[in-house]
């Protein structure tokens, strides 16, 4: 596999990962936290008194954001290794 092709495949996989993670990012914040809060607020987060939409807006989305970045970082480091483009 030549370098050029290798790099373009690496880049495609990178874009795919970013798209998946940003889709989750969009769903938890804009989806659960804003657009569909009213529907979600009709139920509570199990075991708590949080209306679900409200919880996503004030707590849940932030927890998910943190997880997304760590997952991205972990996956990209693995991808770097696989395609031999890591820094060392």
């Amino acid at each position: 596999m030549d370098t050029q092709k290798n790099h373009s495949q690496y880049w495609r996989l990178n874009i795919r990962l970013v798209c998946i993670l940003l889709a989750i990012w969009f769903i938890v914040s804009y989806g659960c936290g804003i657009l569909f809060t009213d529907v979600l607020n009709t139920v509570n987060l199990p075991g708590t008194a949080f209306p679900l939409g409200f919880w996503f807006a004030q707590q849940g989305s932030i927890f998910v954001f943190v997880i997304l970045i760590f997952v991205y970082s972990f996956q990209m480091n693995r991808l770097d290794q696989q395609y031999g483009v890591a820094e060392d």
Partner: protein, 604 residues
């Protein structure tokens, strides 16, 4: 020991610490001055980024803001954290691979144009100055409230300190003081929050107590012996007093959507945040460092809404129908009410003359409280106001900043905790101010002087220019802190709107497309800039009314449309003009691959 002595001790200790760190981490080269030598550990950089990002407003005002807005306040929580996902996934690793020192560096090099560089410099300076004025003011306010000096003296002390460690240490000094400042500010925020959580919900973890039942000393009293959830009780109280339910919103969905997007994208485009990712050794470190930064920020940002709900519930329960004067057998207001009334952050007009406080939805009187002389008191001993009362039944004015500042008193915490809150608020304000001032000084000495006007200056001269520019920036910021232009609160929307509508699209297109060219990005940035600033100026300063809002979008959210406009213009113009030269297309290729990154190079 009393609060005053504790405050002097703790604030004095933290300031000595900052000075000590500055002396230990003096910068000796431009690389150290601009990007701390590019050798900061990712966890340390995460803490520094968190302190850099969390300003006096995050520390003091945000919980209060949410407390009064309920669900509608969520837009700040999501907006100011969600941007880090964009930053980590779309910008930070690539900018780190690019190397160099600043955001205008990237814009200027990627778009092979000094015009683009200068546009970026002007945006960076404008964004940073609008933001820093509020920080210096915050330092002054904290000093005046806790140490009983006047605001001007407070601002001057703050200026002196920032001047010392920013000018001496540059980014290197700032980074390590910010690490210390993060530790202090998060400790100062969490200690009272944990105590309040225990007192209201009997749960030491605020994030969990928030969704639990009322319990503990204060909570059981509020619940009146029943088993009821805090949020349920709060919604009930809100319904009784005529407020919207705490957990559901009242703003238009589209507007909330646009505000959240403008804040997120704006956060990702703020130069003082972006530049922090140039300071770590590798691309890998830039990725994980953004995760650490957001984790450290999330500790405060998930606690703040809990504190907001605790404080709101406690406040309503404490003041509603309480006697202003002390009654043995009936509910009366606690001491902290008088303390904060004396500072002017609380005010009471006894409209129905029953000597008790009634708190309902609606404004108690017109405008901010203006007290009649300092010591003129009414029949119950309350301060009298010049303001014209409104028709509403509401008799109480509460400033939102009280929610965090009065927390330790409300929870009857020891004096050292109150002193700690003062030190935490100062740490939050100083760390943000220092980061912003560095952006201004770098923009002047590096982007304008070295890269545009006088490329032949030596490194030593550039370092001197950076120090002089930093001193100059501190003086200007201090001036605005002492004489705040009346519009400071309004222009914060500017900072985010402009970052969203100028930098974000320019950087994103520069990384993810090969075809974005000089002509496209300059016209794109200018369209975003002109559209967003004219919208904000029209509605904030020239008397535009909310009926005229475009699609019902408020000025706070307009940066989102400005960003879309920037993207569209940049695409159309780029496609119709000559593509970028081959070496730029190669540059884009190399940015995308981590391999071969070097420390930020001192370029020739």
């Amino acid at each position: 020991m009393d609060v005053q002595t504790w405050t002097f001790l703790i604030v004095g200790f933290t300031f000595t610490l900052y000075v000590g760190i500055a002396i230990w981490s003096r910068a000796s080269s431009t690389k150290e001055f601009y990007v701390a030598g590019g050798g900061v550990h990712p966890v340390a950089n995460g803490m520094a980024t968190a302190a850099d990002w969390m300003s006096a407003a995050s520390f003091i005002s945000m919980a209060g803001l949410i407390s009064f807005m309920g669900y509608d306040g969520s837009v700040y929580l999501m907006g100011w954290t969600g941007g880090y996902v964009l930053l980590a996934l779309l910008l930070a690793p690539y900018l780190r691979k690019f190397g160099k020192f600043t955001v205008p560096d990237f814009v200027g090099d990627r778009y092979y144009s000094n015009t683009a560089r200068v546009v970026a410099v002007l945006c960076a300076i404008f964004i940073s100055f609008t933001y820093v004025a509020g920080q210096m003011r915050g330092v002054g306010v904290v000093f005046s409230r806790f140490l009983e000096v006047d605001i001007t003296t407070g601002v001057i002390i703050g200026m002196g300190l920032v001047l010392f460690y920013a000018v001496l240490g540059g980014m290197k000094g700032i980074t390590y003081t910010q690490v210390a400042q993060y530790v202090i500010l998060i400790f100062a925020f969490m200690v009272p929050a944990i105590f309040i959580s225990i007192m209201l919900t009997n749960n030491p973890i605020p994030q969990l107590g928030f969704g639990g039942n009322l319990g503990g000393d204060i909570g059981s009293r509020i619940a009146g012996g029943q088993s009821v959830a805090l949020l349920e009780k709060l919604n009930g109280l809100h319904a009784e007093l005529g407020f919207e339910a705490y957990t559901s919103g009242s703003k238009s969905k589209l507007d909330v959507f646009c505000i959240a997007a403008a804040l997120m994208v704006g956060t990702a485009g703020l130069p003082h945040v972006i530049v922090r990712f140039y300071t770590v050794p590798k691309v890998r470190d830039a990725r994980i460092s953004a995760g650490w930064a957001l984790l450290f920020i999330a500790i405060l940002y998930t606690t703040a809404p809990a504190v907001a709900a605790f404080a709101r519930t406690n406040l309503i329960d404490t003041v509603q129908n309480a006697h202003y004067t002390q009654h043995e057998t009936e509910k009366s207001i606690p001491d902290w009410f008088h303390n904060w009334e004396n500072t002017g952050l609380l005010a009471w007009v006894d409209k129905n003359e029953d000597g008790k406080i009634q708190y309902y939805s609606g404004k108690p009187f017109v405008g901010k409280p203006k007290f009649i002389e300092a010591d003129k008191r009414g029949i119950h001993g309350q301060r009298l106001l010049e303001n014209k009362p409104t028709e509403s039944q509401n008799e109480l004015y509460i400033d939102r900043d009280i929610m965090v500042l009065a927390n330790p008193e409300i929870a009857q915490l020891p004096a050292w905790v109150i002193a700690l809150v003062a030190a935490g608020a100062l740490a939050a304000a100083l760390s943000t101010a220092a980061g912003l001032l560095l952006v201004v000084s770098t923009a002047i000495s590096h982007d304008l002087l070295k890269r545009t006007l006088r490329p032949d200056i030596t490194e030593k001269q550039e370092l001197w220019a950076a120090r002089i520019a930093a001193s100059f920036a501190v003086l200007v910021a201090g001036y605005f802190g002492i004489n705040p232009p009346g519009f400071v609160a309004q222009v914060v929307a500017f900072a985010f709107g402009l970052a969203a509508s100028t930098f974000f699209p320019a950087i994103l297109l520069g990384i993810f497309t090969r075809w974005a060219n000089r002509e496209g990005v300059i016209t794109g940035m200018l369209s975003g800039l002109i559209f967003t600033s004219s919208y904000i100026v029209y509605f904030k300063f020239l008397g535009g009314t909310s009926e005229q809002w475009l699609f019902g979008i408020s000025p706070e959210g307009i940066g989102t449309l400005g960003m879309v406009l920037n993207f569209v213009v940049a695409m159309i113009v780029s496609k119709r003009t000559a593509p970028p030269p081959q070496e730029i297309q190669d540059l884009v290729e190399s940015i995308r691959i981590p391999k071969g990154s070097a420390g930020p190079s001192v370029h020739d």
